[in-house]
Every structure is written in structure tokens, then in C-alpha cells.
Symmetry: C2
Subunit: 341 residues, 2 copies
């Protein structure tokens, strides 16, 4: 049934006609590409230029390790500044293309690697986005993605800073493979993962800034990290794709050159990981320090997994349209169930 | 911020303004209902009438334990017969309403419990469905759901037996709460969970028949069970609802009164569980035996979780329409990303 007989679960349960554990040779995989990606889990300090220089060094190290695509964490140029609402912090934003993409572009071209970089985009006066840029190995902007789902919560005042994205969900081609980028809060939405996978992405990158509040880490910390990991592993399973979550690490008070947010700060929990198309964690960083996590994308495993778990075959595309509604209130929803009532 | 300060993860990360561990009294929850549900994990033998009688007994036991809604496994009247394609097995099907719903209806009325029962429905000559019936505590059919996603795989020849459902995704009111039912293979589709939750379900029931192939259990068994549990826990997290997976247990050869399927059979893995709206497993059955798993639905926890993880607030309903397409091939898909290319 499968190339390597890494047979996950069959439809509705488990069945196997071939013997397990036996590799089936001679099965024609249409695509046998493999490539390495790197997830840069890093700590950010108070000086944006120093963070940027550190990120450039990490990308260089990752390339030396063999990575062909390197993903940086969300808004890696600065500490997570959204812990408060401060007009002055819009000064951190920059156009795309702009100073950061120019330097990263030169680096990408120099190293012959693709880079996924999350930036605070200034699109027009008063119009800002939380944007991920994918630079290809020629140093060109292969695609930009503007964070679609914007959170807002005490200490996470993102709706103040970022206009929700208007480019939809995307996948872009790099020299080694087709990948999609989503950003942080997007990771809680199965729709975003599905749409990006349907665009042909082999890997979903999630540059992220997520952590523990010091006062609740003991009680809720483990469950919080577990929920975060679980829903992203589920995106891998549902879509038969790799999922790469790339988080920052360390305690922050949103310090931008001495402009700090009040409060106890946030302990960004690291724990970056790569899940394979079966949802298995194949690489995982720790919770305490900087780390360059290297993982291999085996494109044949995507096809193999999807042959064995043919979820894409059986989607009920005729029945999903109501997903575009906010809520299916029983009083005003003309849906198939109504026919019976 | 929250009723009991069981604060999961806030948008984009973790932030808390109130002290953790301190219950916030006086917060008005709109709905403080609590009710018990029972998940009947059972073994099936060769005699359908014996299985049915056993199921009736289990429902009675569950009601005595305090359950107000009792869910039986997928196609609990028989062993899992879809291990082969056999014309004679369509004789197992019955109309709805029909003999089984009549008996279950009387039982529900007698015990004052709702019952979720998965049946092989004969809708018309040559037209059959894999259908879940929800009977309310008055013994009425509160709703029927016809399995929307139908698998087909060696030993799981469901497309031979079951026409895909045409009633869409639904939630129905019972005396204690509003619940939704999906069936087995549906559990791999985030769309089904989302649409059922958007219809107001507090609990998603998944009557299931899933297990290990004996030859691959050692190598893949743990990962298979983990993937199954992970994707369903993710439905709980994404939607802020309870998820109840109700599986059969034990080795089967699809034996229907001596008509057995060839092959090594399937070891149905049990492991039924209830996950709370944060995706935490709050009740779990073993993998080896029959079990009536009792769990409490705390409706306030749904609201509390959704206030803290306001995913429903931020859904990009303007951007999800392409989910109704089979695949978003780059050559023929007019999507926002095209605008930039």
C-alpha cells in the first residue's frame, strides 16, 4: 500500500493488506525530494539592531548546517512590544520591501537559502500589518503573507497595532519546495491550515510569540504548551503536511531601548518543533534557550501519508459553505438540517 | 478575567491581569448547567440480537450511574462487517424509525435519558446510510445524522455499503443540553467539527469503530492511537467544546452469525475518552475491556474557555470560502494571492 509502509491509520480504523514492517520496493513515488529546514528559536533583547544582527548570524549558521529554508520567530527584530498600546511604537514598522528585506535578501542570495521573516509592516501612514515575508534563494521576495487572525487580550494588544491581513492564505514556491507561512494566532484556526495546504504547501511555517505568564505557569503552563502543540500537530494530521512552529524564548518586558511595558512580563516558552504529516514530533527545541532546530522535509512521506490517510479524497466540499458564516444560529440558518425539522 | 481562572492560553500567548489561582467570584455566567454523559465502550459478538440486548443493558447501567445522555459506539448492533464486500450483509440494515429505534425509544423514555445510537440505515431499496440517531428523554427522535465522510480502504469497505450523508452537520437539543453527533471517519475533518460547533453543540459525540491491525500494532499502534486522540482533542480546542469519542473494543473478524471476513481481523482499540473545551482528557477508558465512561459537561466552562481563547471572535469568515473547493491548484484558482503575482 505504501512506499515505506509507515502506515498510519486507515480510513475508519486500521487495515493492512501487505505485511507490516516490510518495505515495498519499486513503488513509484512521483516526487522524491528531500530538503532541510531550520527553525531559529531565539531570545530578543532591547536593541532591535542587535536582534537583527543576531538573526542574520543565526540564518548563516543554519545555512552552514545545511538548511535550505530558514524560519525566524514572529517579529524577531524586537521584544514583543504589544504588551501595551503606545503610539511611539509604530516607529518600529517599516515598508516591505524595506531596510530589513533588503539586508535579508542579500543574505539569502549570498547563502542560497530561502528565509521566512516576520516583520512589522508599514503599508501606508496609519496602516500596519504583522507580515511574514518569504525570500527565495535568489534574494527575491517570493511572497508576503499578512497575518489574517489578529488577537487581542490583556498584554497582547495586537488589534491596536495590526490591521488584519487582506491577502488570504498562500503557498509560495522556493527552490527546494512549496511552503506556506501563517503567523502565531493563526495556529488556532484549522481553516488557515487547510487553505494553505490546499494551495499545495508541503510545510506550514508558524513564526510565533507565545509564552507563560509567570503567575500562572505552575498551574496552567503544561496544559497551555500541550494545547498549543496539539492543535498544530492536528493541522499536520488533517492535511498530511509538515508543520513547523518557530517560537521565541526567554523572559521579556517588551523592552524597546528602555521603553518597557508594566507588569510581570511574559516568559516565552520556546519549545519550537517540527511535526511530520502524521503529526509526530520529529524535532523539538527546549524551553529555556536559543536553538537552531534542523529538520528534514521528505516530500515522498507527504504522498505516502495521504495515500494511507486519504482525507483529501473524502472532503465534503458540497457541505462546507456555512463555514463562511460567523455562527449558525438556529433561528436564521438555512442549512440541510432544516429540511428535516 | 475568568470565572474560575482556569485560564488556558490567551491570544497569541499568555497574559493575565488578575492573579492566577484566585477564583473570581461574582462573575455572571449566563449558563451554569452541568450534566453527566456516558460513553459506552463495548465488545461485539457474532449475534446482533445479543449485542443489541447488551447495549440496552449498558444504557440502563449508565442511567443508573447518573448519565443524562448515553452514547453507544458506531454500528454497535454487529461486529464491524465492512471488512469485506458482501451483498447479503445489506440485510443487516433497517429503516429509521424502525425496530431498533423503537426499542431504544422505549428505553430512553423509561430511563429519562437521551441516547445516541449508530445504526445501519436502509432508506430505500439500494440506498443505505451509516446513521446516528439521537433519541431524547421523551423517546422521540430528536435528530438523525447521516455520516458525511465515508472511508474506503482495505478491510474498511464502507463506500460499498454507505451512501454519504445528505443532511449536513447538525446539533440537536436534548433536555439537558445541545449536542452534535458525527461518526468515526468524520473525526479527521476539522470542517465537520467546526460546523457542528457553530450550530451550538456543547458536546461533539463521535461513535467510532477504529483499531489496530495485529501485524502493525507493535510498530505503529501507539502513534496511531495518539494521532486519533490528537486530532479530536484539537477539535475541542479549536471550538471550545467537549469532545466525546466512543469506540468499540476487542478483536473482531466481522463475524455475523458465522459469516466471517478473511484476514487477521482488527483489534478495536477502545481508549474512548472525553476531552474538555481546553482539549484536556478528563475521562479515558482502557484499551482492553468494556467500560462505561462517565463524564461531566460543565457548560460554564465552555463560555469561560471561549472568553479566554476567543477564537470564534476572530475567525476570518470573509476568507474561508475556498474551503469549499477540492484543491486550490495554482493554475486555476482566483484567490487573493494571485493579485500579487
Amino acid at each position: 500500500m505504501t512506499g515505506r509502509n509507515r502506515r498510519p491509520i486507515p480510513p475508519g480504523g486500521v487495515g493492512l493488506v501487505v505485511s507490516a514492517g516490510k518495505r515495498i520496493e519499486g513503488l513509484k513515488m512521483t516526487d522524491a525530494r528531500k530538503y532541510s529546514i531550520a527553525l531559529v528559536q531565539m531570545h530578543m533583547g532591547a536593541d532591535p539592531e542587535e536582534n537583527f544582527a543576531a538573526a542574520m548570524r543565526h540564518v548563516r549558521e543554519a545555512a552552514q548546517m545545511g538548511a535550505k529554508i530558514v524560519c525566524l520567530p514572529e517579529l524577531f527584530r524586537t521584544q514583543y512590544f504589544c504588551q501595551r498600546e503606545d503610539l511611539r511604537l509604530f516607529d518600529l514598522a517599516e515598508p516591505i520591501p524595506g531596510p530589513s528585506t533588503e539586508k535579508l535578501s542579500a543574505l539569502a542570495r549570498d547563502l542560497r537559502v530561502a528565509i521566512v521573516a516576520s516583520l512589522f509592516e508599514r503599508r501606508a501612514p496609519g496602516l500596519y500589518h504583522n507580515t511574514a515575508v518569504t525570500l527565495n534563494a535568489e534574494g527575491q521576495i517570493a511572497g508576503i503573507y499578512r497575518k489574517m487572525h489578529i488577537p487581542d487580550d490583556p498584554l497582547y494588544y495586537e488589534k491596536y497595532y495590526f490591521t488584519p491581513g487582506d491577502l488570504g492564505f498562500q503557498a509560495v514556491d522556493t527552490a527546494v519546495g512549496r511552503v506556506g507561512t501563517l503567523v502565531c494566532w493563526d495556529q488556532w484556526y484549522p481553516e488557515g491550515a487547510r487553505l494553505t495546504a490546499l494551495k499545495g504547501a508541503e510545510v506550514l511555517f508558524y513564526p510565533t510569540a507565545i509564552g507563560w505568564h509567570p503567575a500562572e505557569k505552575d498551574e496552567f503552563g503544561e496544559a497551555q504548551y500541550d494545547a498549543w502543540r496539539t492543535i498544530q500537530r492536528a493541522h499536520a494530521i488533517a492535511n498530511g503536511v509538515y508543520v513547523a512552529a518557530v517560537n521565541r524564548v526567554g523572559m521579556e518586558h517588551g523592552d524597546i531601548l528602555g521603553n518597557r511595558a508594566p507588569g510581570q512580563g511574559i516568559e516565552f516558552w520556546g519549545g519550537s518543533f517540527l511535526a511530520d504529516p502524521f503529526g509526530r514530533i520529529v524535532a523539538k527545541a527546549g524551553h529555556d534557550g536559543e536553538e537552531i532546530l534542523l529538520g528534514e522535509i521528505d516530500v515522498a512521506l507527504i504522498e505516502e501519508t495521504r495515500r494511507n490517510w486519504p482525507f483529501l479524497r473524502d472532503r465534503r466540499v458540497d457541505a462546507y459553505a456555512p463555514i463562511s458564516q460567523r455562527f449558525l444560529d438556529t433561528t436564521d440558518t438555512p442549512t440541510p438540517s432544516k429540511e428535516r425539522k
